[in-house]
Assembly symmetry: C2
Homo-oligomer: 349 residues x 2
Amino acid sequence: MPGAPGRCVSVTVAVDANGADLGPAEVLAGAVRAVEADPDLSVLLFAPAVESGHDRVRVVDAPVSVAKEPDPAAAVRRFKDASIVRAWAAVAAGDADALVSGGSTGAALAAGLFGVKRARGVHRPALAMRIPAPQTPFLLLDAGANTTVRAEHLVQFAHMGAAFARVALGIPAPRVALLSNGTEPGKGTEEVVAAHAALRDMPGFVGNVEGFTVSSGEADVVVTDGFTGNVMVKTMEGSSRAVLEAVRAAATSSARAKAGGLLLKPALGGLRAALDPELAGGAYLLGLRGLGVVPHGSFTRRGFAAAIALAARGVREDVAGSTHAALASAGALRRAPDPSAGAGTLPDR
Amino acid sequence: MPGAPGRCVSVTVAVDANGADLGPAEVLAGAVRAVEADPDLSVLLFAPAVESGHDRVRVVDAPVSVAKEPDPAAAVRRFKDASIVRAWAAVAAGDADALVSGGSTGAALAAGLFGVKRARGVHRPALAMRIPAPQTPFLLLDAGANTTVRAEHLVQFAHMGAAFARVALGIPAPRVALLSNGTEPGKGTEEVVAAHAALRDMPGFVGNVEGFTVSSGEADVVVTDGFTGNVMVKTMEGSSRAVLEAVRAAATSSARAKAGGLLLKPALGGLRAALDPELAGGAYLLGLRGLGVVPHGSFTRRGFAAAIALAARGVREDVAGSTHAALASAGALRRAPDPSAGAGTLPDR
């Protein structure tokens, strides 16, 4: 991260505590941990009424949850008092500066489109996730907001990712790639092939990359649809966990290996932390008129604390505003209204 | 693997040596290694004329390659003397029992449809790959043959994978899952949601799994389209490699860690071998009237030797025939000709 965003800037984060796998109390514990670590941070926690336990964590009684609704877009229209709808409303009203969602990405996106609207000229918001690959971290988008996309959405994700990488990650000339099943320009779905053709002249575009990109460091920004992005992130996490577990098992397989494992333990601890998805805090939801952070629903308090800190950092660095300005100066905003997806309206499903 | 397939059965494998990243000579070296390890194995190697170096490896002069053609279906129709077309022709004529392809999956599939035809009642052939996840190996299909699929293709892949798991992997009641971006039945692309509904009553169907399945062991057979499958396999390989590299780096980060690394080395060697994609040999191309094996183009001689051994094992276990018979008895063959993809014709692209 470039510079050191000043802690002196006061930030309030609206947190929807419903939908987390471990329940609202775990999210509350994360919020308390986050404000204890940052004296200029406050949290508005939307959850079933409980005692907060900290004077900078204010609990707003919001027991209604749409986190498990199969059709989030319909649910957020129907349940105006749902916690995620009220949390975005706090951002829209200026009572909070950013949002952290404890529930599903679909509900966070649908309620965001409903509450703070799509940013001007953006086709589709996307989840931008910093992937903690060892040696070769990169930004992946869309990490799960849009199950299916059109070519022009991929093209805009490429520009949005490049803008974010410049303003928030301090990479002056980010290398941008499309994820595909082969490096040749003709490889991939119809949408990927069309996006490749449209991106050919984009500064920094390096073509297609394959799944191997998680260890090759070929690109700073990897662009894909939200279905493939979701599968990639979870495959990576699952594989890393499986290999680390197998290393742990190998390190107890004999007396000799046990001795080696003990000596190696401190060095491996650093790797384990670097790969820990909880410490990364989740992904930014970019492309709305307000900043959202989507952590895993499976996070513990540690992960929710990291997600709230990530949201606060995003506010202090003006990630949403700077990314939008960079998108505009790259000429990557759509000019005319998109008939199939008007600004501020809900997506088809 | 069930039983011990008799080495006494003579097998001839047709190998297309064009298209491999390290060149035909590397594939030839792999073929020599494979026949040296198996006295009842012969290889017909389609490659630019070279000295074979072994009396059970016969080189057939076939310098024309379509491995890099952007439209493989058109290329195999146009270049009748291409090495992959001639290799499949040897299988069709009974001169070889199975095929190993050194080039692209697309060319191997297109030439297979052209040369040996689609198996009766199969919509689309698929790449079935045994994934060497530590602790929890599983079969993934489609690992890369079909970039896009319809719901009925996914449904048949599920049955094809279950049949293969029973007859070739010895799993009496395989658990079958669809890969998606969420476990709920409504999660995923339109095709995944429709396939889920159609599979609900299939014996062994356990619903959707996410990318985490690579470490969770929730399913024996994981079904997806060839685009997502390709990304998943390569992400997994890249992640495993990155973590093992990072473990190696950690093990040289201090004198203490170095001592630990040395003690742990033998135990980690086993893990490295278990995760090595070269030792797995590649994937079976199922659903044709002949068995194909598709290794990575990046393999060294070691990987090509493993691919040829995998093909020989598939012949001795009658993987193609038994899978087809199991598909038929599960009632999973299509009854009427599919107007959009008639048996034995080439796919749309």
